[in-house]
Structure formats: C-alpha cells, structure tokens
C-alpha cells in the first residue's frame, strides 16, 4: 500500500466531495462549460439567471443557493410540483426581443424511435421547459444547441463521433416526419420558432452541435464532423485559449440565432 498517496487522495476527495461520485468530474466539466457560455451572454444582449427545477430563479439572498446536478441515471425534466430539488438550469432572455431560453445539463430527450438520449448541455426554448414542468417528461426532438462534454483522459475516437451523430439523427424531426409522430408530445424545437427542416443537412446546419473534450481526438475521429456539422473542440481546460474559443463560439452562435 501507499499510505502517503492514499492519505493525500483522501484529503483531496474529502474536500471536493462531489469528485467522489463517478459522475462528479464530468459534472464539474459541464458546470464549467454551461456557466462559461452563460457569462458570455450579457454582453451579447441577454439577461441570464440560475434556475431551480421548479422554474423559480435563484436569488443572491436565498438561503438555498445550490446548483443541483444529477448524479444518477439521466432522466427528462421533473414536474415543478415535485419541488425545487431536482436538476438546476440556466435561464436566459434576449433583452430586445424577449425570447427566453433554458440551458439544461444532462437531460434526456426522446428520439423519433422513442429511444432516450442524454445531452450534456442543451439549449431549448423556455416554452419547452415550461410545458414539460407541468407534468414532467422528455422533450421530443433536437435542442438548438447540443454539446457532448467528454472529460475522460483517453482521446476521442471515431466511435464516440458515430454515437453522437446517431443520437442527433434520431433526435432530428424533419418536416416529413411530423405526421408519423405520436400525438401529445412536447416537441422541443417548437414549430413556431424552429421551422421543420426538409433534409438532415438543413437540420444539422440549423443547430449548433459540438463535442468538446478535456483531452484530444484520436487521428481519424474528425472524419464525420464536417459533413454532419459536429464541431470538434479539443483541450478545453480552464484558462486555455481553446476553451475561450469554444465558449465564445457557442455564445456567438446563440447571440446570432436565438432572438
């Protein structure tokens, strides 16, 4: 045994206790990414706020100022009636147009096949969140922004890219699909503000999709990215120019498309 190493590890994980959870480091990365995007939005014309799972805002004077992230199995959106103790989100509103949006973390969306797909960071219209909070459940369709956050040490593979492309394919609702969809579903794109695209290429171009990694991509893994409009970002670590570039590009995209 290595008593010094073990004792120091206990001290690190005993202080930053969320890192004890298998999903803890990943959630820390996602917290950094989603708040990093959000703090870039006020200079681009948005109000931003932290939001509890029941839709209420977190105020600086509230005794409970936790940002809650889900540690276990991913789910959809919890009903507001179940209280504020489920996964938190970030709200944003365009100051001029009043268009409101929510950034979700680790929420499942339903694909056309009915399969659930977890998206690490998703931007959806506020109406989608409000509607889902009435009963709880999953939105059907594709978020406007979908970011897969990978903080593991190994390099990203072509299989990782395939899995993300397949997820986006199942989540894409084209114009021609609408008549086959089950009724009564909350469609996250919302027909009034997200015209149903005719082709997959239209859908890929209309949204922002990215895989963002703490480490790098293995040779060959970028092959599917350009065609499917999945933007690859590597070495996104705190204070790195790669992180600044990624966060700025997401914020710029939101500023251009979401008002």
């Amino acid at each position: 045994m290595l008593p010094r190493v073990e004792s120091a590890l206990n001290a690190v994980l005993g202080a930053a206790v969320t890192l004890q959870h298998a999903n803890g480091p990943g959630r820390a990365f996602e917290l950094y990414v989603m708040t990093g995007v959000a703090i870039r939005l006020p200079p681009r014309g948005f109000d931003v706020w932290l939001q509890r799972s029941d839709g209420t805002r977190v105020s600086p004077t509230d005794p409970d100022r936790r940002f809650i992230q889900r540690g276990g199995k991913p789910t959809g959106i919890s009903p507001a009636a179940s209280g504020p103790g489920n996964a938190s989100a970030i709200g944003l509103r365009h100051k001029s147009s009043g268009a409101a949006w929510e950034i979700w973390n680790g929420v499942q969306f339903r694909g056309r096949s009915s399969a659930p797909h977890e998206i690490d960071l998703a931007l959806v219209p506020e109406q989608t969140g409000a509607q889902l909070r009435l009963t709880g459940g999953m939105a059907l369709g594709r978020p406007w922004v979908s970011v897969e956050c990978k903080d593991v040490g190994t390099a990203g593979s072509l299989d990782e890219m395939r899995a993300f492309v397949a997820r986006m394919y199942d989540l894409t609702v084209l114009h021609g699909h609408r008549r086959y969809l089950p009724t009564g579903q909350v469609i996250c794109s919302g027909p009034a503000i997200y015209p149903a695209p005719v082709t997959y290429r239209d859908a890929n171009q209309a949204a922002f999709s990215a895989i963002v990694r703490r480490t790098r991509f293995a040779r060959g893994s970028a092959a599917m990215t350009a065609y499917y409009s999945v933007r690859p970002y590597a070495q996104v670590v705190v204070n790195a120019p790669e992180a600044t570039q990624f966060l700025d590009e997401v914020a710029d995209w939101i500023a251009i498309h979401c008002h």
């Binding site: 045994m1 190493v5 930053a16 950094y32 708040t35 977190v58 970030i90 990215t225 705190v238």
Partner: protein, 161 residues
Amino acid sequence: MASVDVRLLPLIEALNSAGAVWIATELLDAIARGHVPLEPPERLKMARILSDELGTDWSEEPESATSAIEGLAQIGFATQYIETRLTDAINYLEAGLLQADDILDSDERPRARPAEISQSIEDGEQVLEVDRAAVGNARLAMEQLSSALREWRLQAEAEGQ
C-alpha cells in the same frame, strides 16, 4: 494491448481504498489503449470551418499505429494521469462556481458581501455538496498528493533500474 505492470498495483489499490475507483478504472483503460495518434489542431479547425460551409471536402490521412505503454513507463504515465485528472477537475469546479456566482450577481444590486453558489450532486439518497472554500482545501491537498506521487514514482523507478 499492454498488460498492467505489477508495480502499478499498489497505486490502483490506493485509488480504490480512497474511493477513487473511477480514476483507477480510467487509468487502466488508458494504459490498455496506449498512446494513440492524435488529430492535429489544424484539422479540427478545418472541420469546424467546413461544418459552417456545408463542406464535404475532407481528406483522410493514413492511419498510424498506437504505441503501448509498458513496464516502468506505466508508473510515470499513471502518476501524471492522476495529477492532471484531479487538477483539471478542481479547476473546472472552481471556475464553474465562480462563473455561477457571476450569473447570480448579474442582475442584482451590488451587495457588501457577494453571494456564493455551491454545487450539489444528487443521486437518490446520496447528496454531495461542495463550495468554493472546500475546493480551495482540495487544491491545497493536491500539493500533498503531487508530492506523494512524485516520491513513489522516484522510488519505483530507482528500484526498477
């Protein structure tokens, strides 16, 4: 695929005993995969540009071989992996909490003492919560961990010569 060097086993045990099973699992996976050839940053940049331009003009580069991490090299790889992994996680936590504080303060009047957000991970009955002070303590403890890992690596390398 390289087999795990027996000299690495006490470190794996220490990770498991400290509750860092996830690092042990990742580390063994990384060693099994070895060093893989990587996409150069300019190819990723090109991919992002082509994503915006409906681009399909993508040229594949020939595959190159992975190189195994074997023997004593696993010791250096493992200590570096653990140190970088935990340091990055602490950096993400600290920056994420600071940015969350900025969001909390963005639409309110200035106050004498800024409010602070904590991160809470909830998994059924298990609730884990951390604030900036705790992250600061973790950063201090990282210095001890780096020193302990360095000491063990040097000892293992000396014994392996």
